[in-house]
Protein backbone atom coordinates (compact mmCIF):
# COMPACT_ATOMS: atom_id res chain seq x y z
CA UNK A 1 0.00 0.00 0.00
CA UNK A 2 2.65 2.50 1.04
CA UNK A 3 4.57 1.80 -2.11
CA UNK A 4 1.57 2.84 -4.18
CA UNK A 5 1.01 5.98 -2.15
CA UNK A 6 4.56 6.95 -2.78
CA UNK A 7 4.40 6.24 -6.43
CA UNK A 8 2.24 9.05 -7.80
CA UNK A 9 2.55 7.90 -11.39
CA UNK A 10 1.25 4.48 -10.49
CA UNK A 11 -1.56 6.02 -8.44
CA UNK A 12 -2.70 8.06 -11.42
CA UNK A 13 -2.48 5.06 -13.70
CA UNK A 14 -4.79 3.06 -11.41
CA UNK A 15 -7.18 5.97 -11.07
CA UNK A 16 -7.17 6.42 -14.86
CA UNK A 17 -7.91 2.75 -15.38
CA UNK A 18 -10.80 2.87 -12.88
CA UNK A 19 -12.21 5.97 -14.56
CA UNK A 20 -11.81 4.41 -17.98
CA UNK A 21 -13.86 1.42 -16.85
CA UNK A 22 -16.47 3.74 -15.34
CA UNK A 23 -16.68 5.88 -18.47
CA UNK A 24 -16.93 2.85 -20.76
CA UNK A 25 -19.67 1.37 -18.57
CA UNK A 26 -21.66 4.62 -18.58
CA UNK A 27 -21.14 5.13 -22.31
CA UNK A 28 -22.81 1.85 -23.12
CA UNK A 29 -25.96 2.81 -21.17
CA UNK A 30 -29.16 3.72 -22.99
CA UNK A 31 -31.48 4.48 -20.06
CA UNK A 32 -31.23 6.12 -16.62
CA UNK A 33 -31.67 2.80 -14.73
CA UNK A 34 -28.75 1.39 -16.72
CA UNK A 35 -26.66 4.42 -15.75
CA UNK A 36 -27.57 3.80 -12.12
CA UNK A 37 -26.40 0.19 -12.39
CA UNK A 38 -23.12 1.47 -13.84
CA UNK A 39 -22.73 3.92 -10.95
CA UNK A 40 -23.28 1.17 -8.37
CA UNK A 41 -20.60 -0.92 -10.04
CA UNK A 42 -17.84 1.61 -10.64
CA UNK A 43 -18.17 4.73 -8.51
CA UNK A 44 -16.79 3.20 -5.34
CA UNK A 45 -13.41 2.56 -7.01
CA UNK A 46 -13.06 6.22 -7.93
CA UNK A 47 -14.02 8.21 -4.87
CA UNK A 48 -14.36 8.06 -1.08
CA UNK A 49 -17.76 9.27 0.13
CA UNK A 50 -20.72 8.52 2.36
CA UNK A 51 -23.37 10.35 0.41
CA UNK A 52 -23.38 12.06 -2.97
CA UNK A 53 -26.23 14.17 -4.24
CA UNK A 54 -26.20 15.39 -7.81
CA UNK A 55 -28.65 17.79 -9.45
CA UNK A 56 -28.54 18.02 -13.22
CA UNK A 57 -30.37 20.99 -14.64
CA UNK A 58 -32.81 19.91 -17.34
CA UNK A 59 -34.83 22.83 -18.77
CA UNK A 60 -36.79 24.15 -15.74
CA UNK A 61 -36.34 20.99 -13.69
CA UNK A 62 -33.53 19.02 -12.07
CA UNK A 63 -32.65 15.37 -12.35
CA UNK A 64 -31.99 14.49 -8.74
CA UNK A 65 -29.49 11.64 -8.26
CA UNK A 66 -28.89 10.35 -4.75
CA UNK A 67 -26.00 7.96 -4.04
CA UNK A 68 -25.43 6.24 -0.73
CA UNK A 69 -23.11 3.25 -0.88
CA UNK A 70 -24.87 0.85 -3.26
CA UNK A 71 -28.22 2.63 -3.01
CA UNK A 72 -28.72 4.89 -5.97
CA UNK A 73 -32.07 6.55 -6.66
CA UNK A 74 -33.24 9.32 -8.95
CA UNK A 75 -36.23 11.57 -9.55
CA UNK A 76 -37.18 14.83 -11.23
CA UNK A 77 -37.59 17.82 -8.90
CA UNK A 78 -38.49 21.52 -9.23
CA UNK A 79 -36.09 24.34 -8.42
CA UNK A 80 -38.06 25.33 -5.30
CA UNK A 81 -37.40 21.88 -3.81
CA UNK A 82 -33.65 22.63 -3.65
CA UNK A 83 -32.09 23.04 -0.19
CA UNK A 84 -31.14 26.51 0.91
CA UNK A 85 -27.39 26.11 0.37
CA UNK A 86 -28.10 24.58 -3.07
CA UNK A 87 -30.13 27.60 -4.09
CA UNK A 88 -27.24 29.84 -2.97
CA UNK A 89 -24.82 27.68 -4.92
CA UNK A 90 -26.98 27.85 -8.01
CA UNK A 91 -26.91 31.65 -7.80
CA UNK A 92 -23.28 32.43 -6.93
CA UNK A 93 -21.44 29.23 -7.93
CA UNK A 94 -19.05 29.52 -4.93
CA UNK A 95 -17.95 26.02 -3.77
CA UNK A 96 -18.82 25.04 -0.22
CA UNK A 97 -16.83 23.06 2.33
CA UNK A 98 -18.46 22.95 5.79
CA UNK A 99 -19.03 20.87 8.90
CA UNK A 100 -22.62 22.09 9.07
CA UNK A 101 -24.43 19.33 7.27
CA UNK A 102 -28.17 19.81 6.59
CA UNK A 103 -30.34 17.02 8.04
CA UNK A 104 -31.96 16.31 4.67
CA UNK A 105 -28.71 15.18 3.08
CA UNK A 106 -28.23 12.29 5.50
CA UNK A 107 -31.89 11.48 6.14
CA UNK A 108 -32.78 7.78 5.82
CA UNK A 109 -29.17 7.01 4.95
CA UNK A 110 -26.76 7.42 7.80
CA UNK A 111 -26.96 8.87 11.32
CA UNK A 112 -24.64 11.81 12.09
CA UNK A 113 -23.43 9.83 15.10
CA UNK A 114 -21.97 7.20 12.77
CA UNK A 115 -19.73 9.80 11.18
CA UNK A 116 -16.47 11.28 12.47
CA UNK A 117 -15.92 14.96 11.69
CA UNK A 118 -18.09 14.72 8.66
CA UNK A 119 -17.80 17.46 6.09
CA UNK A 120 -20.12 18.62 3.31
CA UNK A 121 -18.49 19.55 0.03
CA UNK A 122 -20.56 21.19 -2.68
CA UNK A 123 -19.83 22.54 -6.16
CA UNK A 124 -21.65 24.09 -9.01
CA UNK A 125 -20.28 22.82 -12.30
CA UNK A 126 -21.46 24.36 -15.49
CA UNK A 127 -21.52 22.75 -18.88
CA UNK A 128 -23.22 24.09 -22.00
CA UNK A 129 -25.57 26.45 -20.14
CA UNK A 130 -26.69 23.58 -17.91
CA UNK A 131 -25.62 23.63 -14.28
CA UNK A 132 -24.83 20.58 -12.23
CA UNK A 133 -24.90 20.87 -8.43
CA UNK A 134 -22.82 18.20 -6.67
CA UNK A 135 -22.88 17.67 -2.88
CA UNK A 136 -20.66 15.12 -1.20
CA UNK A 137 -20.43 14.05 2.45
CA UNK A 138 -17.22 12.42 3.65
CA UNK A 139 -15.52 12.02 7.03
CA UNK A 140 -12.21 10.97 8.48
CA UNK A 141 -12.94 7.27 7.96
CA UNK A 142 -13.67 7.73 4.28
CA UNK A 143 -11.77 10.88 3.51
CA UNK A 144 -12.31 13.08 0.47
CA UNK A 145 -9.51 15.39 -0.55
CA UNK A 146 -8.98 18.33 -2.87
CA UNK A 147 -7.06 16.03 -5.13
CA UNK A 148 -10.26 14.07 -5.73
CA UNK A 149 -12.19 17.08 -7.10
CA UNK A 150 -10.74 16.59 -10.53
CA UNK A 151 -11.96 12.98 -10.77
CA UNK A 152 -15.38 13.96 -9.35
CA UNK A 153 -15.62 16.60 -12.05
CA UNK A 154 -14.79 14.03 -14.71
CA UNK A 155 -17.47 11.70 -13.28
CA UNK A 156 -19.98 14.53 -13.27
CA UNK A 157 -19.14 15.49 -16.87
CA UNK A 158 -19.51 11.91 -18.00
CA UNK A 159 -22.88 11.56 -16.28
CA UNK A 160 -24.08 14.94 -17.51
CA UNK A 161 -23.22 14.04 -21.08
CA UNK A 162 -24.98 10.69 -20.79
CA UNK A 163 -28.12 12.16 -19.19
CA UNK A 164 -28.22 14.84 -21.84
CA UNK A 165 -28.02 12.17 -24.50
CA UNK A 166 -30.84 10.19 -22.86
CA UNK A 167 -33.04 13.28 -22.51
CA UNK A 168 -32.50 14.23 -26.12
CA UNK A 169 -33.21 10.69 -27.20
CA UNK A 170 -36.45 10.67 -25.21
CA UNK A 171 -37.41 14.03 -26.61
CA UNK A 172 -36.75 12.78 -30.12
CA UNK A 173 -38.83 9.69 -29.50
CA UNK A 174 -41.61 11.93 -28.16
CA UNK A 175 -41.35 14.12 -31.23
CA UNK A 176 -41.50 11.19 -33.57
CA UNK A 177 -44.50 9.83 -31.68
CA UNK A 178 -46.30 13.14 -32.02
CA UNK A 179 -45.20 13.27 -35.65
CA UNK A 180 -46.60 9.81 -36.16
CA UNK A 181 -49.78 10.99 -34.48
CA UNK A 182 -49.89 14.04 -36.74
CA UNK A 183 -49.29 11.78 -39.73
CA UNK A 184 -52.15 9.56 -38.60
CA UNK A 185 -54.39 12.62 -38.20
CA UNK A 186 -53.48 13.80 -41.69
CA UNK A 187 -54.14 10.33 -43.03
CA UNK A 188 -57.51 10.22 -41.28
CA UNK A 189 -58.42 13.63 -42.61
CA UNK A 190 -57.29 12.65 -46.08
CA UNK A 191 -59.60 9.69 -45.78
CA UNK A 192 -62.43 12.00 -44.77
CA UNK A 193 -61.68 14.34 -47.66
CA UNK A 194 -61.61 11.42 -50.04
CA UNK A 195 -64.96 10.32 -48.65
CA UNK A 196 -66.39 13.80 -49.19
CA UNK A 197 -65.02 13.91 -52.73
CA UNK A 198 -66.45 10.45 -53.36
CA UNK A 199 -69.77 11.63 -52.01
CA UNK A 200 -69.64 14.73 -54.21
CA UNK A 201 -68.90 12.53 -57.18
CA UNK A 202 -71.94 10.45 -56.40
CA UNK A 203 -74.10 13.55 -56.08
CA UNK A 204 -72.76 14.88 -59.38
CA UNK A 205 -73.41 11.54 -61.03
CA UNK A 206 -76.93 11.50 -59.66
CA UNK A 207 -77.56 15.07 -60.85
CA UNK A 208 -76.17 14.15 -64.24
CA UNK A 209 -78.47 11.15 -64.39
CA UNK A 210 -81.40 13.40 -63.48
CA UNK A 211 -80.47 15.87 -66.19
CA UNK A 212 -80.08 13.10 -68.77
CA UNK A 213 -83.47 11.78 -67.73
CA UNK A 214 -85.04 15.23 -68.05
CA UNK A 215 -83.41 15.68 -71.44
CA UNK A 216 -84.78 12.37 -72.58
CA UNK A 217 -88.20 13.36 -71.34
CA UNK A 218 -88.01 16.66 -73.18
CA UNK A 219 -86.82 14.95 -76.34
CA UNK A 220 -89.64 12.48 -76.04
CA UNK A 221 -92.16 15.29 -75.61
CA UNK A 222 -90.76 17.21 -78.56
CA UNK A 223 -90.86 14.08 -80.76
CA UNK A 224 -94.41 13.39 -79.66
CA UNK A 225 -95.38 16.98 -80.38
CA UNK A 226 -93.78 16.96 -83.79
CA UNK A 227 -95.63 13.80 -84.57
CA UNK A 228 -98.95 15.22 -83.38
CA UNK A 229 -98.43 18.33 -85.50
CA UNK A 230 -97.34 16.36 -88.51
CA UNK A 231 -100.46 14.25 -88.57
CA UNK A 232 -102.99 16.99 -89.55
CA UNK A 233 -100.32 18.61 -91.70
CA UNK A 234 -99.94 15.43 -93.74
CA UNK A 235 -103.69 15.44 -94.28
CA UNK A 236 -103.61 19.04 -95.47
CA UNK A 237 -100.81 18.11 -97.86
CA UNK A 238 -102.78 15.08 -99.03
CA UNK A 239 -105.88 17.11 -99.78
CA UNK A 240 -103.99 19.85 -101.62
CA UNK A 241 -102.57 17.09 -103.85
CA UNK A 242 -106.09 16.05 -104.65
CA UNK A 243 -107.22 19.61 -105.47
CA UNK A 244 -105.18 19.54 -108.66
CA UNK A 245 -106.85 16.39 -109.91
CA UNK A 246 -110.54 16.78 -109.11
CA UNK A 247 -113.17 19.04 -110.61
CA UNK A 248 -114.46 22.21 -108.99
CA UNK A 249 -117.61 20.61 -107.67
CA UNK A 250 -115.79 17.81 -105.89
CA UNK A 251 -113.28 20.32 -104.58
CA UNK A 252 -115.95 22.64 -103.24
CA UNK A 253 -118.20 19.99 -101.78
CA UNK A 254 -115.79 17.36 -100.58
CA UNK A 255 -112.21 18.58 -100.41
CA UNK A 256 -112.45 22.14 -99.06
CA UNK A 257 -114.52 21.26 -95.98
CA UNK A 258 -111.99 18.54 -95.13
CA UNK A 259 -109.14 20.94 -95.75
CA UNK A 260 -110.69 23.52 -93.39
CA UNK A 261 -111.34 21.00 -90.65
CA UNK A 262 -107.76 19.68 -90.93
CA UNK A 263 -106.37 23.21 -90.73
CA UNK A 264 -108.58 23.84 -87.72
CA UNK A 265 -107.33 20.66 -86.11
CA UNK A 266 -103.72 21.56 -86.73
CA UNK A 267 -104.26 24.91 -85.05
CA UNK A 268 -105.70 23.16 -82.00
CA UNK A 269 -102.77 20.74 -81.86
CA UNK A 270 -100.22 23.56 -82.17
CA UNK A 271 -101.89 25.47 -79.35
CA UNK A 272 -101.70 22.34 -77.21
CA UNK A 273 -98.04 21.83 -78.04
CA UNK A 274 -97.16 25.40 -77.09
CA UNK A 275 -99.08 25.14 -73.86
CA UNK A 276 -97.49 21.82 -72.95
CA UNK A 277 -93.99 23.09 -73.73
CA UNK A 278 -94.37 26.19 -71.58
CA UNK A 279 -95.88 24.07 -68.82
CA UNK A 280 -92.84 21.74 -68.92
CA UNK A 281 -90.48 24.71 -68.90
CA UNK A 282 -92.15 26.15 -65.79
CA UNK A 283 -91.95 22.73 -64.14
CA UNK A 284 -88.23 22.36 -64.96
CA UNK A 285 -87.49 25.82 -63.63
CA UNK A 286 -89.29 25.00 -60.40
CA UNK A 287 -87.29 21.76 -60.02
CA UNK A 288 -84.04 23.61 -60.57
CA UNK A 289 -84.77 25.90 -57.60
Amino acid sequence: MSSIKNNIAQHYRITYEAYSKFANGINRCGTIPEVIEGLKLHLKYLLNFHVIKMLFQQEDQFLFLSIFRDNVSYSMIEEQSLLLYEQELLKNGVPIKTFEIPQEILKHKIKPSQLQNAELWAWSFQKNERKVLVSLVADELTPFAYGDVEILKLVTDCLEAKFQEIFLKNKLAERSTSLARAYQTIKDQNGKIREIVENQKEIIEERTREIVKKNEKLLHISALNAHNVREPLSRIQGITQLLEVFDDKTCREELFPKLYSSVEEMDVVLKEVIEMASHELVKLKAEKV
Binding site: H227, E231, L233, S234, R235, Q237, G238, Q241, V245, E254
Partner: protein
Protein backbone atom coordinates in the same frame (compact mmCIF):
# COMPACT_ATOMS: atom_id res chain seq x y z
CA UNK B 1 -110.49 -7.11 -107.88
CA UNK B 2 -108.73 -7.96 -104.68
CA UNK B 3 -110.20 -6.27 -101.61
CA UNK B 4 -108.46 -3.20 -100.22
CA UNK B 5 -108.69 -2.18 -96.55
CA UNK B 6 -107.97 1.35 -95.36
CA UNK B 7 -107.32 1.55 -91.61
CA UNK B 8 -106.72 5.01 -90.15
CA UNK B 9 -108.39 6.66 -87.15
CA UNK B 10 -108.59 9.88 -89.17
CA UNK B 11 -111.50 9.64 -91.67
CA UNK B 12 -109.93 12.32 -93.82
CA UNK B 13 -106.77 10.21 -94.19
CA UNK B 14 -108.87 7.29 -95.42
CA UNK B 15 -110.70 9.66 -97.74
CA UNK B 16 -107.43 10.85 -99.27
CA UNK B 17 -106.18 7.32 -99.85
CA UNK B 18 -109.51 6.35 -101.36
CA UNK B 19 -109.39 9.31 -103.75
CA UNK B 20 -105.85 8.48 -104.81
CA UNK B 21 -106.89 4.88 -105.44
CA UNK B 22 -109.78 6.23 -107.47
CA UNK B 23 -107.38 8.21 -109.66
CA UNK B 24 -105.35 5.08 -110.30
CA UNK B 25 -108.49 3.23 -111.25
CA UNK B 26 -109.22 1.30 -108.09
CA UNK B 27 -112.84 2.03 -107.25
CA UNK B 28 -114.37 -1.23 -106.12
CA UNK B 29 -114.08 -3.47 -103.11
CA UNK B 30 -112.47 -0.78 -100.94
CA UNK B 31 -113.44 -0.77 -97.26
CA UNK B 32 -112.31 1.89 -94.80
CA UNK B 33 -112.16 1.74 -90.98
CA UNK B 34 -111.41 4.32 -88.33
CA UNK B 35 -111.38 1.64 -85.63
CA UNK B 36 -108.65 -1.01 -86.10
CA UNK B 37 -110.46 -3.47 -83.78
CA UNK B 38 -113.47 -3.51 -86.05
CA UNK B 39 -111.20 -3.72 -89.07
CA UNK B 40 -109.41 -6.76 -87.67
CA UNK B 41 -112.67 -8.70 -87.29
CA UNK B 42 -113.38 -8.25 -90.99
CA UNK B 43 -109.79 -8.80 -92.15
CA UNK B 44 -109.64 -11.99 -90.12
CA UNK B 45 -112.46 -13.51 -92.15
CA UNK B 46 -111.24 -12.26 -95.52
CA UNK B 47 -110.86 -15.24 -97.85
CA UNK B 48 -109.26 -13.41 -100.78
CA UNK B 49 -105.75 -12.01 -100.98
CA UNK B 50 -106.27 -8.49 -99.61
CA UNK B 51 -104.19 -5.29 -99.50
CA UNK B 52 -104.15 -3.30 -96.25
CA UNK B 53 -103.23 0.35 -95.80
CA UNK B 54 -102.38 0.61 -92.10
CA UNK B 55 -101.81 3.69 -89.95
CA UNK B 56 -99.48 3.29 -86.93
CA UNK B 57 -100.71 5.85 -84.42
CA UNK B 58 -104.30 4.95 -83.46
CA UNK B 59 -106.01 5.16 -80.07
CA UNK B 60 -107.87 1.83 -79.88
CA UNK B 61 -105.04 -0.30 -81.20
CA UNK B 62 -101.73 0.75 -82.70
CA UNK B 63 -100.62 -0.40 -86.11
CA UNK B 64 -97.88 -2.49 -84.40
CA UNK B 65 -100.46 -4.27 -82.25
CA UNK B 66 -102.50 -4.88 -85.41
CA UNK B 67 -99.47 -6.48 -87.11
CA UNK B 68 -98.72 -8.59 -84.00
CA UNK B 69 -102.28 -9.81 -83.95
CA UNK B 70 -102.05 -10.73 -87.63
CA UNK B 71 -98.88 -12.68 -86.87
CA UNK B 72 -100.49 -14.55 -83.98
CA UNK B 73 -103.44 -15.54 -86.19
CA UNK B 74 -101.28 -16.43 -89.15
CA UNK B 75 -102.91 -13.86 -91.42
CA UNK B 76 -100.43 -12.44 -93.88
CA UNK B 77 -102.26 -10.06 -96.21
CA UNK B 78 -99.88 -7.68 -97.91
CA UNK B 79 -99.73 -4.51 -95.88
CA UNK B 80 -98.65 -0.95 -96.64
CA UNK B 81 -97.79 1.08 -93.57
CA UNK B 82 -99.04 4.61 -94.07
CA UNK B 83 -97.87 6.86 -91.27
CA UNK B 84 -97.12 10.47 -90.49
CA UNK B 85 -94.21 9.26 -88.32
CA UNK B 86 -90.84 10.11 -89.84
CA UNK B 87 -89.04 8.06 -87.18
CA UNK B 88 -86.21 5.93 -88.52
CA UNK B 89 -86.84 3.49 -85.64
CA UNK B 90 -90.38 2.84 -86.83
CA UNK B 91 -89.10 2.24 -90.33
CA UNK B 92 -86.59 -0.34 -89.05
CA UNK B 93 -89.20 -1.96 -86.88
CA UNK B 94 -91.38 -2.54 -89.93
CA UNK B 95 -88.70 -4.85 -91.37
CA UNK B 96 -89.68 -7.41 -88.72
CA UNK B 97 -92.94 -8.02 -90.59
CA UNK B 98 -92.17 -9.58 -93.96
CA UNK B 99 -95.74 -9.14 -95.24
CA UNK B 100 -95.31 -5.37 -94.90
CA UNK B 101 -94.43 -4.57 -98.50
CA UNK B 102 -94.07 -0.79 -98.21
CA UNK B 103 -93.45 1.81 -95.55
CA UNK B 104 -94.87 5.14 -96.74
CA UNK B 105 -94.57 8.44 -94.92
CA UNK B 106 -97.65 10.66 -95.28
CA UNK B 107 -98.75 12.59 -97.16
CA UNK B 108 -99.38 9.94 -99.69
CA UNK B 109 -99.30 11.94 -102.91
CA UNK B 110 -99.93 10.98 -106.52
CA UNK B 111 -96.29 10.39 -107.29
CA UNK B 112 -95.74 8.06 -104.36
CA UNK B 113 -98.98 6.32 -105.12
CA UNK B 114 -98.15 5.72 -108.77
CA UNK B 115 -94.83 4.10 -107.92
CA UNK B 116 -96.58 2.08 -105.22
CA UNK B 117 -99.23 0.98 -107.72
CA UNK B 118 -96.52 -0.02 -110.19
CA UNK B 119 -94.84 -2.07 -107.50
CA UNK B 120 -98.11 -3.73 -106.65
CA UNK B 121 -98.79 -4.56 -110.28
CA UNK B 122 -95.37 -6.10 -110.65
CA UNK B 123 -96.16 -8.22 -107.60
CA UNK B 124 -99.51 -8.99 -109.16
CA UNK B 125 -102.21 -7.34 -107.17
Amino acid sequence: MNPIYLIDDQPIANFITRKLLEIEGYTQNIKDFTNPLEAFEIVENEQDDALIFLDLNMPEMSGWEFLEKMKSRGIFHRTVILTSSTSELDHEKAENYPWVIEYVVKPLNKQKFTSLANNLQQKQL
